[in-house]
Assembly symmetry: C2
Homo-oligomer: 223 residues x 2
DNA sequence: GGACTGTATCAACACTGTGTCGAGAAGTTC
DNA sequence: GAACTTCTCGACACAGTGTTGATACAGTCC
């Protein structure tokens, strides 16, 4: 939970044109205030019902001043999502390692449990990211990259298990991986937001894991 | 494919306040023109980039006149989606019957192939529906109902296969069904819109079906 | 043929929200 | 204390939504 001083990261290095217009002086507080306001409001109501004015007011500044710190509402949300994604990646368990150490079921559970922990704590942000994807190319690209990372991991797992004879042949590993990762994305999202129909919070992982195991190993995996 | 005179359906019965403000005279053409314009534009660009004015102009009327026919842009899209969903449901194969007649793999394939045919022909409309869900409760409810229908079908299949000993026990059938249906929704959507990563159009069903079979039957189903 | 009624149409308006411009205040540096 | 950079906001221009009120244009009905 505590921040690990892991990799290169000068307090905040906005990738592109996001965040502030460069500089690095005092108004850091304002920038933080905007981000905090956004996070708070997003847990209250959907992105579409939050205006730039709300963010500005919440941060104690005027609307034009908001634009000094961020080029748009989307940019604020993207910054938040960047961080959430980084959080999720941070404590990441090597899935292959976990499998080897604890066996398929427990290993998978550990990896996924860990992965979704970050998202579970900020449903509003997750929803905002999802809401953004249709209209915002940058959001789409970011999520694509995240998915691609997971797919690559899972592909490796499937190929490894097949190569050592633990899993039977079948459709190309990458294709299976894509489908399974997509299932997880959709199911977790539905559960997180309480869609109807969706699985209960404490059941999702059990069910998803059971499907993964059967899909990957081609049999009912006992314990 | 051809329209079956199946259930109760007076030409078009707008459920709630959607569509025209009642009446049933001539301006039917205008209403149709609006719907056609919307369908056309949706295949060109996303919903967010289509204004009420675009729809009005496309139908050869002024913006205020548009509001005589529909209460909002969303209402137009919802009407279109209603019809698409009805189309998809129309030629619907009884999945249980298909399984019994052609066996698990071929039966599943026939059912799903048939189900997704309608969607595949109008990706723009599908995307619009998806874009609408975050902001529009009615769209959410409509899609919930559709999903619920599929889940119920699949639950019945799984329970039947278990009861006759063809499928092993496992997580509650409904929970499996929800996850599998969610996987299909997500995967088909990603493929339809060419997301990255996603499966190729001609591979998606093969892979999904393989996962379904392994998940339901707990083994690699031969043929 | 004139009064009555419901359908259909649109110019003009009121409103909400976005993003920009330009004039300055406030702080730092030499 | 002049010059520079950072920061702030009132006032504007714009795009889009949804509403109002006047008006035309049928058809009846008597």
């Amino acid at each position: 939970m505590a921040a690990l001083p892991e990799a290169k990261s000068p307090p905040a290095a906005a990738p592109k044109g996001r965040g502030r217009r460069d500089t690095r002086a005092s108004g850091d507080d304002r920038e933080r205030a905007i981000l905090e306001t956004a996070e708070r409001l997003l847990e209250e109501r959907p992105l579409a019902e939050i205006s730039v004015d709300d963010l500005a007011k919440g941060a104690g500044i005027s609307r034009p001043t908001f634009y000094f710190y961020f080029p748009s509402k989307d940019a604020v949300v993207l910054t938040i999502i960047d961080r959430l994604v980084a959080d999720a990646a941070e404590g990441r368990e090597e899935i292959l390692t976990a499998l080897a150490e604890s066996g398929p079921r427990a290993g998978l559970r550990a990896s996924l449990e860990n992965l979704y922990a970050a998202f579970r704590s900020r449903p509003g942000v997750v929803r905002a990211g999802s809401d953004l994807r249709p209209t915002n190319g940058e959001a789409r690209d970011l999520w694509s990259a995240v998915m691609e990372g997971w797919v690559a991991d899972v592909t490796a797992v499937i190929e490894f298990e097949r190569s050592r004879g633990a899993a039977p042949p079948g459709p190309p590993a990458r294709e299976m991986a894509i489908s399974l990762v997509q299932m997880n994305e959709r199911a977790q999202y539905a559960t997180l937001l309480g869609e109807e129909p969706s699985l209960d919070r404490d059941r999702v992982l059990d069910v998803l894991i059971e499907i993964w195991l059967r899909a990957i190993y081609g049999e009912v995996v006992s314990d």
